[in-house]
């Protein structure tokens, strides 16, 4: 805006002649304003349009700049001769006056000698609307975009030619697309010609953006109507059967009552109110009040009131039915044109089909990302539980420690990206150390007693949780993702996935590949498998089972730590963080099949997708989705007790 004014001023000063007289023919703007002098001086929302029409009709190049200054309350009137002027600096004294046509200085005046024309809100709005056409053709692309958005917020039918004009000259492809889309939607809403509107509607097929859907939906808005016969001129959407799901019997009757077509039905509540209103000395027309403790007695008492003329007659069921039968109920489109509504129906249903397909795609993305989270949470367990057979209930606390490592690093290193780069290996180191310490002090004594490992590690789990609570407090700690992980990758208005979930997916894939390589392609992996399958044989072959157990457990714990950093980025970093994942993690490993990481992958995928699927059926209720997911797992284990990827034969019994 300012740039525009500056440009206009520059142009004006270039053209400026030293002196301009009031009635000079080269002051056409002033001339037009003076013909509507009073309307300009005391402009009102209702009357200012005349002035604006004349100004626009003149086609003068100064008009846009003038309108902007008027709207911005920068127009003044010299009291001595009623001439409209600008001032150079409104705080100066005396004010330097500027001619509105030429931009030349035309003398000075004291602040009491001129009036500032303060256009009120209404006038400003009307001027703004008039300005839009100039803005739409402005050389500045931002101005054009702003103007277009302004129209989109409150479209008016008479703006359609303006947009059409703009489109003739528009070169920017994005803006052009926006303008075309807006014009199309305006055609649908305001178009005079039915065929044109239908064509516009049909051209929207397959567009899934929210704006399109918002443009089409009002066309299908209906209202319920009732008449003795189906009206022929109305655009009927559907005929309703009273007593159906769409129109319950009593609701239909209420419509009749509302329209004055039937006497009101007396409900149980109405009856009660009427009875109470007629209590006299503990009696209602001679009936003892205390006997009215059931519905039959109340109906009888009400009938007595009716007989005494003290209450309106309630229609009987037969009368209600007769009234309903005598009328026809229908849904009528607010839009009068049947061609338009049927085109809209078709287009909307096509769009809805497409949207639901895309929703499936979006759901699959959600499923993948949930599966990645479960996989990350469970992958450490796949090693300690799946490969070594150790039930580590403190696994969740290793995840939690990883998340807190991220938080602590972030308090020291303020750069979010750097802090995560530091936190990942540090979390691994810390939880690796914790895992090794735990294996050395507790778990190695309990290898032959798995159920007791479960309980001992549970003891460690609650102790670690409480110690964390002592150090960091019970409330959530901030651990923020760097900016490049904020936001989401959106393919269109329906399908989108946040970058952080993509990152977790990538991390999950990395972990999977890394672990597969470690377990299957390295000496360590070979020794791990040897030790877990037959420790005594392995040790006779020169493998130190103690060392291998220690390293394997450390590896599983360290991975939990890294997973913790990732999970901490989107979950609340609290002492209970890990506990929230532990049961699900065990289920992931068990469902997948113990003893190999493909199983964990399969388990995480199945659980993730199942849970998202249930959420899709009942979107409001994630608790229910989790409940059904767990029930599903329990049932699944009945049919495949060894998990999805099961080892068979003798190997499975070891």
């Amino acid at each position: 805006m300012t740039r525009l004014i500056l440009a206009a001023l520059a142009a004006l000063s270039f053209l400026a002649s030293p002196v301009a007289s009031q009635d000079a023919p080269d002051a056409p703007l002033q001339t037009i304003l003076q013909t509507h002098h009073d309307l300009v001086e005391s402009a009102s929302r209702r009357t200012v349009q005349t002035v604006l029409d004349d100004l626009i009709a003149s086609g003068l190049p100064e008009v846009p700049a003038f309108l902007e200054r008027w709207q911005a309350r920068e127009l003044y009137m010299r009291q001595s001769d009623g001439r409209f002027v600008y001032v150079q600096d409104e705080d100066a004294d005396p004010l330097v006056l500027i001619d509105i046509d030429s931009g030349a200085e035309i003398g000075t005046a004291g602040s009491r000698e001129v009036d500032q024309l303060r256009a009120n809100r209404g006038v400003q709005t009307v001027i703004g609307a008039a300005l839009v056409q100039f803005q739409l053709l402005s050389p500045d692309i931002a101005t054009r975009a702003t103007a277009l958005e302004a129209i989109d917020r409150a479209p008016e039918p008479d703006q359609m030619p303006l947009i059409a004009t703009m489109l003739e000259a528009e070169t920017d492809p994005d803006l052009r697309a926006d303008a075309e889309s807006l014009l199309l939607r305006m055609t649908i809403a305001f178009g005079e010609d039915e065929a044109e509107r239908v064509a516009a509607i049909e051209s929207l097929a397959g567009r899934i953006d929210v704006q399109t859907r918002a443009a089409l939906n009002p066309l299908l808005a209906t209202r319920t109507g009732v008449a003795s016969q189906l009206p022929e001129d109305a655009n009927i959407a559907a005929v309703l059967e009273p007593g159906s799901d769409a129109l319950p019997r009593l609701e239909a009757y209420d419509i009749l009552v509302e329209e004055g077509l039937a006497p009101a039905f007396v409900s149980a509540d109405d009856r009660r109110e009427t009875l109470i209103a007629n209590i006299e000395d503990g009696q209602i027309v001679g009936i003892q009040v205390h006997s009215l403790d059931n519905e039959e007695a109340r109906i009888a008492a009400y009938a007595a009131l009716v007989e005494a003329g003290l209450a309106p007659v309630s229609p009987t069921d037969e009368e209600v039915d007769a009234a309903l039968a005598a009328h026809v109920f229908y849904e009528e489109y607010r839009e009068a044109s049947a061609a338009v509504t049927s085109a809209a129906e078709e287009t909307v249903s096509a769009i809805n089909t497409r949207v639901s397909i895309l929703e499936m795609v979006d759901l699959s993305l959600d499923g993948i990302s949930l599966a990645s989270i479960y996989f990350l949470a469970a992958i450490g367990l796949a090693i300690t539980f799946g490969v070594m057979g150790v039930i580590n209930m403190a696994h969740g606390e290793f995840i939690m420690m990883g998340a807190y490592t991220g938080y602590v690093v972030q308090t020291i290193v303020p750069d979010y990206t750097v802090s995560i780069v530091i936190a990942l290996p540090l979390a691994f180191a810390i939880t690796f150390g914790a895992g090794v310490a735990m294996e050395r002090t507790v778990i190695r004594w309990l290898y032959s007693r798995p159920l007791e490992t479960l309980l001992a590690t549970f003891g460690i789990s609650i102790a670690l949780q409480q110690i964390t609570r002592q150090i960091f407090g019970a409330q959530a700690r901030p651990f923020t993702a760097p900016d490049w992980l904020a936001g989401s990758l959106s393919f269109n208005d329906v399908v989108a996935i946040s970058y952080i979930r993509i990152a977790i997916f990538v991390l999950g894939v990395l972990f999977f590949c890394l672990l597969w390589l470690i377990l299957n392609k390295t000496r360590l992996g070979l020794e791990v498998r040897a030790v877990t399958q037959n420790p005594s044989m392995a040790s006779s072959m020169g493998i130190n089972p103690d060392k291998i157990n220690m390293l394997t457990f450390g590896l599983g714990s360290g991975i939990a730590g890294i997973a913790g950093v990732a999970i901490g980025l989107f979950a609340q970093v609290t002492p209970e963080l890990g506990a929230n994942y532990i049961v699900q993690s065990f289920m992931t490993v068990v469902v997948g099949g113990v003893g190999n990481i493909f199983g964990t992958l399969a388990g995480a995928t199945m659980i993730g997708f199942f849970q998202k699927g249930v959420e899709w059926l009942n979107p409001s209720n994630t608790l229910a989705a989790q409940t059904y997911m767990i029930l599903f797992v329990i049932l699944f284990i009945q049919f495949r007790p060894k998990g999805i990827v099961a080892l068979k034969g003798r190997a499975a019994e070891m």
Binding site: R272, L275, I276, I279, V289, H290, S291, L292, D293, N294, E295, R298, I391, M393, V442, W445, L446, R449, P450, L451, E452, L454, L455, A456, F458, G459, I460, S461, I462, A463, L464, Q465, Q466, I467, R469, Q470, A579, V583, F586, M587, V590, N621, L623, A624, Q626, T627, I630, L631, V633, I634, L635, I637, Q638, F639, P641
Partner: protein
């Protein structure tokens, strides 16, 4: 009975101790004795006795049958919910009937019902009774459900799990999943048991408004002690004799028992269901003393704590479970109730309210590592000195 006392010498001792305990609390009670025992302490003791019953039932499945159930509090809480439904319905009915009686017209049954429903379910946005409250007006029906609901759940779950031969840690994880699923289910507002609000005001016994809590609390304590005594005798009877031998055989060598011709699944199911029913009854006694029940009670961690009590007390011996539950839960109450003196180390003050959990966790590691037989093992050591074994 004589036979039972011969085979399990702990029975007469435990019964005598319980009788002595009942006498002692009566003498100290506010209602019938010196008043040295406050109402809240009476309730704590009563609740502890109920926890001893569920510990006993846990010992039957874990200590004797080798099934480490990490979901036993699901049965306990279901028992509590079942009795809680009647307590809440009947109590609300009294209150609502009294308030409707102030109205100008006497209430119809439908109006009364609607008003009770709004009173109970308004908090979760409901205004009518869910199907599961169909029998809530009847104490007898709800008492039957106290037994039936945990029993049927245990039967269905156990039948599925044992049939497909899920054992060991897998079974533990499944039971844990079961209680988690149930707790998540109950957390939902629309499942009919008031979501996370749970059932409250259960300490108000309908029809007993005039009786002070000091009296009601001691009655419940007596009832709990009697239930514990019954449960103890029952568990000792089940676990003595041939049935106990088969059950312990299953724990030690399932395949051997199977090849002897016993249907291992049937036996496990029997013990699991019986134990779930005991847990349900214990819960039905516990929650009227606690006053409130909500889905948090079914959180998996509660059931793990139960296993911890039994392990600390010493599993595979009934008195061990009772000792473990009593000692650990009373110590927990003492430490977390702020009654334990803080320890000032100069640079840091150890506040037991906070550090008790740490102590418990580490203590549990130590017991597992160094005293796998738990506190009950100490009793064995003491008694064995006198025996020629």
């Amino acid at each position: 009975m004589g036979n039972l006392i011969k085979t399990n010498r702990s029975v007469p001792i435990v019964l005598a101790l319980l009788a002595g305990f009942a006498l002692l609390v009566t003498v100290l009670s506010e209602a019938y004795g010196s008043g040295g025992l406050s109402v809240s302490l009476t309730k704590t003791l009563g609740m502890t006795v109920c926890l001893c019953i569920i510990a006993l039932s846990m010992d039957m499945v874990w200590g004797y049958s080798g099934i480490l159930s990490l979901g036993h509090f699901a049965f306990f809480a279901l028992g509590g919910y079942m009795i809680g439904m009647w307590l809440m319905y009947a109590r609300t009915e009294d209150v609502i009937a009294a308030s409707l009686a102030q109205g100008q017209l006497p209430a119809t049954p439908a109006e009364l019902n609607d008003a009770i429903a709004v009173q109970i379910f308004g908090v979760v946005g409901g205004d009518s009774f869910p199907w599961m409250w169909a029998f809530s007006h009847s104490l007898v029906a709800q008492l039957a459900l106290v037994v039936l609901v945990p029993g049927i759940l245990a039967f269905v779950f156990g039948w599925l799990a044992f049939r497909s031969r899920v054992t060991g840690v897998y079974l533990s994880i499944l039971t844990q999943a079961m209680t988690l699923a149930l707790s998540l289910y109950l957390f939902q507002n629309d499942t009919g048991l008031r979501g996370n609000n749970g059932l409250s005001g259960l300490q108000n016994i309908p029809g007993a408004e005039a009786i002070p809590q000091s009296q009601i609390s001691i009655w419940f304590l007596w009832a709990s002690i009697a239930a514990l005594a019954l449960a103890y005798v029952f568990a000792a009877w089940v676990m003595s004799g041939k049935f106990g031998n088969v059950i312990r055989g299953i724990r030690d060598d399932e395949a051997r028992v199977r090849f002897l011709g016993y249907s291992v699944e049937g036996y496990k199911l029997f013990v699991f269901v019986v134990s779930a029913i005991m847990a349900g009854v214990a819960g039905a006694l516990y929650y009227p003393q606690a006053g409130i029940i909500n889905p948090d009670e079914l959180a998996p961690i509660a059931s793990i704590y139960l296993a911890v009590w039994v392990a600390i007390g010493g599993r595979g011996r009934l008195y061990g479970a009772v000792i473990g539950a009593a000692v650990v839960s009373l110590l927990s109450t003492w430490f977390t109730g702020g009654r334990a003196p803080d320890i000032n180390l100069g640079f840091y003050t150890i506040q037991w309210v906070d550090w008790w959990t740490v102590l418990l966790g580490l203590g549990f590691v130590l017991v597992t590592l160094f005293a796998p037989k738990g506190l009950g093992g100490l009793v064995d050591l003491m008694t064995r000195k006198g025996e020629a074994k």
